[in-house]
C-alpha cells in the first residue's frame, strides 16, 4: 500500500501570527515538504493545480520536475490535474515529459476543479464540467496509447495525424486516478477505463465516501477489469498530531477555526466526529486511518493533507517526521494483515511495464 501527502498549495495567513508567506516562500515550502516526504519514507507527493489566488501551484509539472531531480524514490502525482480547463494535448505532452525525466515515477489524478470563475478564464463552461472531463480524458487516453491520432470532438479543435511527443516512457501511459467527491459520473468513468478512483474523504462524512467507493467498485467489476475487491481505490485524510492529544487540539484549533473551506463553521470536535479529520496523538491517527478500511475495503493509496490553513513549514515538517517514524510503519503492517492476496497494489511504472511485457 502506498502512503503519501497531497497539498492544495494555498497561501493562507498564519492565524496565530497574522503573517502571510510570500508566494516564493510557499512554493519553496511545498518543495521542502515533498523532499521531506521522501526522506521520512513516504511513497507519494501530490500537488494541487489552481489558477487563482490564494493558490500558487498553477504549473504542476514544473514543480514536480524540480522535485523529481532532487528525489530518487518518491512518486510524483497531482491532486488534481484539471481535465476540464487544460488542453488534453498539453497534459499528454507535459506528463510524458515528466515521466521520462523522473524515470517513470509519475502518475496523476484527474479532477474538474471547483472554483467557478476559472472555467470562463480558459474559455470553458462550468455547466459542461462533466462532459469536458469525459471528452478530454477520452482524447488524453488515446494520445498516450496511439502513435498517430485523428480526432474530432465537441470542445477542442480537431486533430489530424497528430503525434503527442515525447511518447510515454517505455510505451506505458502514466497511471491515472480519477478524483471526485460527489459525482457518480466520475466513479463510472474511472471504472470504465479500469483506472483508479480517489475520494478526497476530507470534508464529508464517511458514509458518503463509502457509497462512492462502492459504486466505483461494482462498476469496475461490471466493465470486466476484475472483482470489486480488485478495483484501485485511493483515499484522502487530514491529520494534525502531537505526542499528547490535548496539545494537538490546542495547537491546531486556531488554524481549524479560520481554515479555508470549513472554517467559521462547525467546531473542531463536531468536524472530527463527522469527518475523517483526526487531531490527536499518532496512535489516534493510526486508529482512525485503519478504520477507513471498514467502509472502503482494502485499498491502495492513502494520502494525507498536512500543509494547509497557514500552518508554518516547521510544524508541517514535524508532522511528516511523525507520519514517517510512527504512523506509516504501523499502518503498513496493520493494513497488510488480512489483506487478500488477490487485492493488487497500486500500479506503478514498473508494474505496468511488467504487465505490458507479459501480455506480448
Amino acid at each position: 500500500m502506498q502512503f503519501g501527502i497531497f497539498s492544495v498549495g494555498d497561501v493562507t495567513p498564519d492565524p496565530t501570527t497574522g503573517r502571510t508567506p510570500t508566494e516564493r516562500e510557499r512554493i519553496k515550502a511545498m518543495v521542502a515538504i515533498a523532499l521531506k516526504a521522501e526522506e521520512v519514507g513516504l511513497d507519494v507527493f501530490a500537488t494541487g493545480e489552481h489558477h487563482n489566488p490564494p493558490f500558487v501551484p498553477s504549473s504542476p509539472t514544473t514543480m514536480l520536475g524540480y522535485v523529481a531531480a532532487r528525489t530518487e524514490k518518491l512518486i510524483l502525482s497531482t491532486s488534481t490535474t484539471l481535465i476540464t480547463t487544460n488542453d488534453p494535448v498539453k497534459i499528454a505532452e507535459d506528463f510524458a515529459m515528466l515521466q521520462h525525466l523522473a524515470d517513470g515515477r509519475v502518475d496523476l489524478m484527474m479532477g474538474r476543479g471547483n472554483t467557478g470563475p476559472v472555467y470562463p478564464w480558459f474559455g470553458k463552461d462550468i455547466r459542461e464540467g462533466i462532459n469536458l472531463a469525459i471528452e478530454n480524458y477520452a482524447l488524453l487516453h488515446r494520445l498516450w496509447r496511439e502513435d498517430v491520432v485523428n480526432w474530432e470532438g465537441k470542445f477542442r479543435t480537431p486533430l489530424q495525424g497528430f503525434t503527442s511527443t515525447p511518447r510515454p516512457l517505455d510505451g506505458v501511459a502514466p497511471f491515472v486516478w480519477h478524483g471526485s467527491i460527489r459525482s457518480p459520473e466520475i466513479a463510472e468513468q474511472a471504472a470504465y477505463y479500469g483506472d483508479g478512483f480517489f475520494h478526497n474523504n476530507i470534508f464529508w462524512p464517511a458514509d458518503h465516501t463509502k457509497r462512492m467507493v462502492e459504486l466505483y467498485r461494482s462498476r469496475y467489476a461490471h466493465y470486466g477489469h476484475g472483482t470489486p475487491e480488485q478495483a484501485i481505490v485511493g483515499l484522502g485524510g487530514q491529520v494534525f498530531m502531537r505526542r499528547n492529544s490535548q496539545d494537538a487540539v490546542r495547537e491546531f484549533r486556531p488554524y481549524f477555526d479560520v481554515a479555508p473551506v470549513y472554517g467559521h463553521g462547525p467546531s473542531l470536535e463536531e468536524f472530527t466526529d463527522q469527518t475523517p479529520l483526526t487531531v490527536g496523538s499518532p496512535q489516534q491517527v493510526i486508529e482512525k486511518t485503519l478504520s477507513f478500511r471498514e467502509y472502503a475495503g482494502d485499498y491502495q493509496r492513502q494520502l494525507f493533507l498536512v500543509d494547509h490553513a497557514g500552518l508554518p513549514l516547521k510544524t508541517v515538517l514535524e508532522q511528516l517526521d511523525m507520519l514517517g517514524e510512527e504512523v506509516v510503519p504501523v499502518l503498513r503492517e496493520e493494513f497488510a494483515k488480512g489483506r487478500p492476496a488477490e487485492v493488487p497494489q497500486a500500479p506503478t511504472h514498473t508494474s505496468l511495464l511488467k504487465a505490458k511485457e507479459a501480455a506480448v
Partner: protein
Amino acid sequence: MKLVVVSAGLSVPSSTRLLGDRLAAAVGRDVPAEVQVVELRDLAVEIAHHLTNGFPGKRLAAAIDAVTGADGLIVVTPVFSASYSGLFKSFFDVIDKDALTGRPVLVAATGGTARHSLVLEHALRPLFAHLRAVVVPTGVYAASEDWGAEGLDGRIERAAGELAALMRGLSTARVPARGADGFEVVPFEERLAALRA
C-alpha cells in the same frame, strides 16, 4: 401515507407550529396519514453548517430524508421582512433541487397582520414552483387576529382537502428511479456517444 409538516416557527409555543398541526389534523381526516413534524428551529445550527460545509449533520439528514420521502408536505413559515424567514429558505436551499419534483405541497404562513397575506402567492408559491412541486390552489395565511375570528377553519379545511386529494391521486408520481445506493448510473458508453453525436 407519509405527511410531513415543516414548521419554521421560532417561539415556543409557536402559532406557526399551531397552524401546521391544525392543517395536518385536517388532512388526516381525509387520508390515513402518518404525520411527522420537522421543527426547523431545532435544526438551525445544522442548516448553517450545511451551508458552510456542504454536508448535513445527522439530525438534518434525517429531516431531509423525511421531507424528500413524504407523500405530502405542509410547509409553514412566519413572515419576516415581507417574505418567508431566512431559516425556512435555507432549509429548502440545502435540499437537492430535484428532490421535491411532483410532490404535493400545501403552503401556509403566519404573521402579525393580514397585510402580508400575499406572501403565500408572491414568495412561497414561486419557490415551490421552482422546485417543481405541485402546490395546492389554496394557501393558508393566519394573522394574529385570525386566531380569534371566523374563517380560518374553512380555509384550513379547503386547503387540507386539496392536499389530501393530491396525495391520493399523485402519490405515485416520483423522481426518476435510482439504484439502491441512491445513484443514478448512466452507462459510460452512452455518455461518450452523446458527445460524439
